[in-house]
Structure formats: structure tokens, C-alpha cells
């Protein structure tokens, strides 16, 4: 019988497997996906947010615990467990050397990520390169890996893990780490969670999944149904507005639309609905998925004119192009009169200022609802461009309640040998909202903790490293 069974194959699962193995446990990792799709959503990630007291390898300046905590508090609006959040923040400062030992390379942030160069450490080649490095390291250390091994249920006895089931196959272990991701790929569950809106639509019908197609939430649902304590709201997720033409799964980073703050965003009724210039795109882009999800048809259009060209990250698909605003309205099937009035009202409300898209500039609107508080410039020079967007879900926040040891709770009591990491518990720290790189930080920190906790549970009386140190 194996000491530690890790269920899942993404970043958190790999961190848990590596730590448990380093602690001396024998480890079996079960990845639901085939090898070519291994790694879950981690393959689509690029960086982790890391606290640091001074300039450190690829990180500039200082990012203190308090500043990190404030940033997290801002995006979550207080929906976070402070002690777990601070644990994540503090541990984030010590992860990188361990990651590098397992073959992860970091690089200085380059073009297009200027606002993240202080707070986030970037993986060279992105998340898939990181996942590859971890799998190579795991193989070298003797972690057994099985692909196409989706676990659908587990067997518990008196709050203790006994075995996991892949269909009829029963796999026993002394301890277990659950790191099988959220349920964002499960469209039926999303539909059930989001329900029907006042227009009679099921918003989830128009959702796109930015990440893996393998996060069906089977195990999460099984755990909740079996009495594990859960946390979070099933409608909360990391959601961004992405190109409406993105594939249903695995669109990843390149489907983002980066020009929102340079123009206006209108809904299917050709009306604006939020301040496009509220803050820099990296800080605000995570709110637009939910904003668009609340619009009719869960669709919106980012409208820019020729002045914006060459000032935003190039989009993966070409935008709709028209020489006049009338023509653009027709191409988007928007009501011409309403669209023209929206643009006209916006143009009339723009105050002349000094445009600077690299700073919070003084170009804003007056007497306009909703306002555009920065980078407001008239949309008047053709050709005009439009990008249709839909909500793109990256990962869901509904998860299992946990503690500083990553234990799974049943009726407020921690299990002795069942632990949880990654998306299955991220909601403890991230109740809502999102800030770049925090998902990977939670996954890395809790993956490491869960791995050590599981090894400790499996191997009694042995001195183990403390992942929290």
C-alpha cells in the first residue's frame, strides 16, 4: 500500500507529491487527464505572486506582507480567512528556491507585464513548462504517476481516508491529498449554480472555460455530498471578459481583450454599463467577466477607434472593422440609433486632458453615467474596431473548508489523514475577486503543506520538514 495518494495532476498536486516524497513517503499521483493534457489549469498560468522584503532575483522593489494582505483584502472585500491568507502570503516568500530546485525557471517580466514586475515572479515558458519540470522531478524522485485516472469517489471510515475509487478500481493509501481542481469545466453544474436571470436566460449557457476541460468537480461534489465541510459561493470564480470566439475550453491567456480601458464597452442594448477607465487593466480585468455575465446575452463589445491601435496587447483574433460608426453598429447587430447616441454622449462628456495610457491620466468624462474616469478620449477617428466578449471562467471558488495543516473537515473536525490543496480549497483564501498570480501562490503553498501533512500522517514518528517555516 502506498503511503500518500495524491488525487489531481496540477501545480498543487505536484507540489504535494514532491513534498511528501521528499519527506520519505511513497507517493502515487492520479491525474484525470491523458498525458498531453496533464497539469490542469496550471498549464495556462504564468506567474505567482510573492511577498519579498527587497529586490530578489526576478522581483523588483519590495512587496511586504501588509501590502500583499491589503491587495487581497481589496479584491475579496473581506471574504477571506485572515490566518490562512497570511500563511499563504508569508510562505510565498520562501517557495521560489524550492521551485527552482525542482527545475522551475523564473524570468524577468518582459513586454506587456510592466505592472506586475514588482509583485509577481514569472515562470520561464509559462505554467506548462513549470508543470513539465515538476513531472520530470517527480519521476526522478520515484513518484508514481498514472494518467487518465479520474477518481470519482473515496471511502472514509470514522473521518479517516481509506481508499479512492477510479470506477470500480479501489486504491488504498495511508493518507491522501485532494487536489483535483474546481468544477468550472462542468457546464451543468455552472448552469445549476447561476440559475436563470430576470430575462429568462441561463447565463452559464454563454460562459466559456478558459482552462482545462478536465475539472468536472466530480470529487468536490462527492466530498460535499459525503459531509465534508465546504466554503464559498458556487457562482464565485475567477472570471474575465474574453473574446467571444474563443474555444469552449483551454482558450487560456491569448483570448483576453486588452483594449477595454482605451475605448468604451457596450452591451447588446448598445449601452455602457461600467467605468472602463477605473484602473489599470491588470488590476481591473478580473471584474469584467462578472460584469459581462450580468448583461443580456452575456455579451458585450469593446469599441475603440484608430487612435487606440498599437497601444494594447495584440488580440488573438482580428476585431470587427468599419469605416463609420453606423457601419460598425450594423456589423455588430446593435440598434444604430442607440449605439450612435451612446458614443455621442460619451464623446460629448470627454474632457480634454493629457492622454497617457501608462499612468492614471486626467482624461475623464463629466456628467456621464457611468463615468469613464481615466483614458477617456473621443471615439471619432475611423476606421473603428469592435471586439465581442463573453465571460471566461478560469476557476471556481467553491471548495472544502481547511486549516493551517490543509486538513479536510467533517462536521468541524479535521481529518487525520485527508488533506486538500489548490482550487479545491482556494475559496478559503479567495472568497471572491482575483489578483494576478494568487491562484498559483495558494496552490503552491497549500500543496506543499498538504504534502507534508499527508507524509506525516502516513509515516508516524519521523521528523519531517515544516513547509510553513
Amino acid at each position: 500500500m502506498v503511503d500518500v495518494l495524491v488525487i489531481g495532476g496540477g501545480n498543487a498536486a505536484l507540489c504535494a507529491a514532491l513534498m511528501a516524497r521528499e519527506a520519505g513517503a511513497s507517493v502515487l499521483l492520479l491525474e484525470a487527464a491523458p498525458k498531453v493534457w496533464r497539469g490542469g489549469n496550471s498549464s495556462h498560468t504564468r506567474n505567482l505572486r510573492a511577498m519579498h522584503d527587497g529586490p530578489q532575483d526576478v522581483l523588483l522593489g519590495t512587496y511586504s506582507e501588509d501590502e500583499y494582505w491589503d491587495d487581497l483584502l481589496k479584491v475579496t472585500g473581506g471574504l477571506t480567512n485572515e490566518s490562512l491568507a497570511r500563511l499563504v502570503i508569508r510562505s510565498s516568500s520562501t517557495c521560489r528556491s524550492w521551485m527552482m530546485r525542482h527545475g522551475v525557471h523564473f524570468q524577468a517580466p518582459l513586454s506587456g507585464t510592466l505592472h506586475l514586475s514588482r509583485t509577481n515572479a514569472f515562470f520561464m515558458g509559462g505554467g506548462k513548462a513549470l508543470v513539465n519540470a515538476y513531472y520530470r522531478s517527480a519521476e526522478k524522485l520515484g513518484v508514481q504517476v498514472r494518467y487518465e485516472a479520474p477518481v470519482n469517489s473515496i471511502e472514509m471510515k470514522d473521518g479517516k481516508f481509506i481508499a479512492a475509487y477510479i470506477g470500480d478500481e479501489r486504491i488504498e493509501a495511508k493518507a491522501c491529498v485532494l487536489a483535483a481542481g474546481g468544477f468550472e469545466s462542468n457546464l451543468d453544474w455552472l448552469k445549476e449554480a447561476w440559475g436563470k436571470n430576470e430575462l429568462g436566460e441561463y447565463p452559464a449557457d454563454n460562459f466559456l472555460i478558459r482552462g482545462t476541460r478536465f475539472n468536472m468537480g466530480t470529487l468536490l461534489r462527492h466530498m460535499i455530498d459525503s459531509g465534508a465541510d465546504s466554503i464559498g459561493d458556487p457562482t464565485q470564480a475567477h472570471m474575465v471578459a474574453i473574446d467571444a470566439r474563443a474555444p469552449l475550453y483551454d482558450g487560456g491567456i491569448c483570448t483576453r481583450i486588452d483594449c477595454v480601458s482605451l475605448g468604451v464597452m457596450v452591451n447588446k442594448n448598445a449601452k455602457r454599463f461600467y467605468d472602463e477607465g477605473e484602473d489599470f487593466w491588470p488590476k481591473r480585468y478580473a471584474i469584467w467577466g462578472r460584469l459581462v455575465a450580468q448583461q443580456p446575452g452575456q455579451t458585450a463589445y469593446s469599441i475603440i477607434d484608430s487612435k487606440a491601435l498599437g497601444r494594447f496587447m495584440p488580440p488573438v483574433f482580428d476585431g470587427e472593422q468599419a469605416d463609420t460608426l453606423e457601419e460598425l453598429a450594423d456589423k455588430l447587430h446593435l440598434d444604430r440609433a442607440t449605439f450612435l447616441k451612446t458614443i455621442h454622449d460619451f464623446n460629448a462628456a470627454c474632457v480634454e486632458g493629457t492622454f497617457d495610457h501608462t499612468a492614471l491620466d486626467d482624461c475623464h468624462t463629466v456628467n456621464l453615467v457611468p463615468p469613464k474616469t481615466h483614458w477617456a478620449r473621443r471615439i471619432d477617428i475611423g476606421p473603428f474596431y469592435a471586439y465581442a466578449v463573453k465571460p471566461g471562467i478560469t476557476f471556481t471558488y467553491l471548495g472544502l473548508k481547511t486549516d493551517q495543516d490543509a486538513a479536510v473537515y467533517f462536521n468541524d473536525k479535521p481529518s487525520d489523514n485527508l488533506f486538500v490543496a489548490g482550487e479545491m480549497m482556494a475559496g478559503n483564501v479567495l472568497g471572491k475577486g482575483y489578483t494576478a498570480g494568487i491562484g498559483m501562490t495558494i496552490g503552491t503553498v497549500f500543496g506543499r503543506i498538504a504534502g507534508v501533512s499527508a507524509a506525516r500522517a502516513a509515516i508516524q514518528h519521523r521528523e519531517l520538514v515544516d513547509a510553513k517555516a
Partner: protein
């Protein structure tokens, strides 16, 4: 003749279009993702563009070192719907550029069947030297010549034959790379840019994987062996070239004629070069066989392998000639060695050799471009 050239150009333009469109399609996806920025020069060069016209595609394809790192790191690699395979798409265009810029144009077609061309070139050359030897003095099997090659082939004959073919090869490559440079270039190369490009060429910087652990070969693991074997091959070749140059100086300026002593400079240089040209090509051939087929254009493997094997045969026959130069077998080794060398010279402008020249030009362009002001103002993501 002029008409034929233009017809060939038209036909090759049509077949180029598909390969170039694929690179442009992929670059649009990469430009929106940019996760690979740290690996090599292709991606930072890509971020200086929004559109990918023919000239951009030609440039980027030759800047690509076919290291494979971006394929293994790619979230959009097959089986993803986007099917992003940068190394393969670039490899296809690279071959098209060699054909497109080749001079004379009609010879560019040789790239398509390069493996066969190299084999034929080498064997025909050997036969030619054999016949030449017999015709010249009939003493092809004429006993021990104490290493005196010129007893088999008079020095002037060799100079005339090799000199003219080599001059043609250099001219042909120079015209090709000049055409390429004119298409991709904008701006003048400063001293600093030339120095940087030279450094990048001589160190094969971009086979380091961006993190110094090397590039990919059989799988997602990094390896420095491809870089090392390239170094053995490249510097082995350069040492052999230096040996010939020193011998030329000895011959014409110092009046010292071959055969040279084992401890003389030309022989030492040639021997070291020959050893490098044995280790490097054997290693490269092994890696080429092990290589993940997704890394490049499978149809170009005959070209890669023919070139590698030819280099290997040149070095082995050269070392054999050194070892047996005082025996009856000397003439045979000489004929074979000269045959392979001639085979290389004949196919140089239309074979894998060209990749080094075009890549060096692309690296120079990269060094120039990095120093120019970027007109894009993408701000932040």
C-alpha cells in the same frame, strides 16, 4: 533563361505562401500570449510587430534555432485547437527561404532533394578524382609515395579545381544572403550590433534555452548536448579551414610544401579539427535520430542527415589519410577524402550548410533591431 527564372520564382512564391501564412497565424497567437518570451530571440522580435508580412516571417524563421523549448511549453500546442507548433512552422519557412533566395534561382530546387543531391555530389566527385588521378599519371596504385599528395594530383590542379568550386560556393551563398538581408533589413549595423551578433553566433547563445540548461531534444527535458555537438562541429570545421589556410600561406609565402610533419601547425590544426568533426557530427546524428518528430519538418531530415554524414565522412577520411599517408593506401584515402570535400563544396550553397549563414544574418538583424526605437506603445496588459 530570364523567363525560366521568373517562372520558377512564381512557382516557389505560391508554395511559400502556405508555409508563411502558417507562421503568420501562429505568430498572431504567440503575440497575444507571450509566455515564451524568455526562451529565445524570436519572441522578443515578434513583440516588436503586430503584423507578420513575408519579410518578417523570413526573418523570424531564420532567427529560430529550432530548439523545441517553446513547443513543450506551449499551452496551445497540438492537440489544442490552435495547433501551435512554432519550430515546425519555422522550419518549413526556413527551407523555403533557402530556396527562395538561392542563386542561381533554379539551383534552389536542390534543397528539396538535398539528401540525394549530397550523396550524388559526393560519389560523383570521388569518381571524378579517381579518373583524374588515372588520367594524370596512371600511378594511382603506384606504391608508397611518402605522403606526397602532389604525386597523385599536382598542386596546381587541386588549386584550380577546388579554388573555382569554392569561389562559386562562396559567391552563391553571398548573393543569397545579400538578397535575404536586403529583404529583411532596415537600418545600419553599428559596431555594437555586429559585436553582439558575432557573440551570439560564436557561442550559439540561443541553443542555451534562455536559462543556460540547453534546448529540448527527445522530450520536455533540457539538454546542453545539442549545443555542445554544434560547437564541436562548428569549431572542428573552422579548425580544418584554418589548417588549409595556414598550409596555403606556408606554400605560397614560406615556400614550405606538403606533406607537413605531424607536429607542424597545419597538421595539428587539421587533426584537432578532424577530431571535432568526428565527435560533433556523430553526436548530432544521434540527437537527430532521437529527436521528437514534432520539433521540425520531418521532410528535411534527409537534408540534415546528409550534411552531418558528409561532414563525418570528410573528417574520417581526412584522419585516415593522416594515419595511412605513408602506406600504399594513401592514394585511395586521398581520392576518397578529396571526393567528399568536393561533394561538400558542390552542395554547400544548396544544402544544410546555408543555415549557419542565414541564421547569422538574422541574428545581426536582431542585434540591429533591438537598438532601434520600438514604435509600438502597448502599455501594460
Amino acid at each position: 533563361m530570364q523567363k525560366l527564372e521568373s517562372l520558377i520564382q512564381e512557382a516557389s512564391a505560391l508554395s511559400n505562401a502556405a508555409a508563411e501564412q502558417e507562421v503568420a497565424r501562429i505568430m498572431q497567437i504567440c503575440n497575444a500570449c507571450r509566455y515564451c518570451e524568455g526562451f529565445c530571440a524570436v519572441f522578443p522580435a515578434m513583440t516588436r510587430r503586430i503584423d507578420f508580412a513575408s519579410a518578417d516571417v523570413h526573418y523570424l524563421a531564420n532567427l529560430c534555432h529550432n530548439c523545441g523549448a517553446c513547443l513543450h511549453a506551449c499551452q496551445y500546442a497540438p492537440p489544442h485547437d490552435f495547433g501551435v507548433n512554432v519550430p515546425m512552422a519555422m522550419a518549413r519557412v526556413r527551407q523555403e527561404t533557402y530556396m527562395h533566395f538561392a542563386w542561381p534561382q533554379m539551383m534552389g530546387e536542390l534543397y528539396k532533394t538535398n539528401g540525394l543531391a549530397v550523396a550524388l555530389g559526393a560519389s560523383v566527385s570521388i569518381m571524378a578524382f579517381l579518373l583524374l588521378a588515372l588520367a594524370l599519371n596512371g600511378r594511382f596504385f603506384g606504391g608508397v609515395l611518402e605522403g606526397n599528395f602532389y604525386a597523385v594530383f599536382p598542386h596546381n590542379t587541386l588549386v584550380w579545381i577546388f579554388g573555382s568550386v569554392f569561389t562559386f560556393a562562396v559567391l552563391s551563398l553571398a548573393i543569397g544572403v545579400t538578397r535575404f538581408w536586403r529583404q529583411i533589413s532596415s537600418g545600419k549595423a553599428s559596431g555594437a550590433a555586429v559585436a553582439e551578433a558575432t557573440h551570439d553566433v560564436l557561442t550559439m547563445k540561443y541553443l542555451g534555452g534562455g536559462h543556460g540548461e540547453g534546448c529540448n531534444n527527445a522530450d520536455d527535458a533540457f539538454s546542453l548536448w545539442r549545443k555542445r555537438f554544434h560547437h564541436f562541429t562548428f569549431y572542428g570545421f573552422m579548425l580544418c579551414f584554418a589548417a588549409t589556410s595556414v598550409a596555403t600561406v606556408y606554400h605560397y609565402f614560406l615556400g614550405l610544401h606538403a606533406p607537413y610533419a605531424v607536429d607542424s601547425l597545419p597538421v595539428i590544426l587539421g587533426t584537432l579539427g578532424g577530431v571535432g568533426l568526428v565527435i560533433g557530427p556523430i553526436g548530432l546524428l544521434y540527437l537527430n535520430i532521437q529527436r521528437d518528430p514534432m520539433h521540425g519538418d520531418e521532410s528535411q531530415k534527409p537534408m540534415d542527415r546528409a550534411f552531418i554524414v558528409l561532414l563525418l565522412l570528410i573528417s574520417i577520411s581526412g584522419l585516415g589519410l593522416l594515419i595511412y599517408r605513408d602506406t600504399v593506401a594513401m592514394s585511395i584515402w586521398l581520392v576518397v577524402h578529396l571526393g567528399f570535400v568536393m561533394g561538400l563544396f558542390l552542395t554547400m550553397p544548396y544544402g544544410k550548410f546555408a543555415h549557419g549563414i542565414y541564421r547569422a544574418a538574422a541574428l545581426l538583424k536582431n542585434a540591429v533591431e533591438k537598438r532601434q526605437k520600438n514604435t509600438l506603445q502597448l502599455g501594460s496588459d
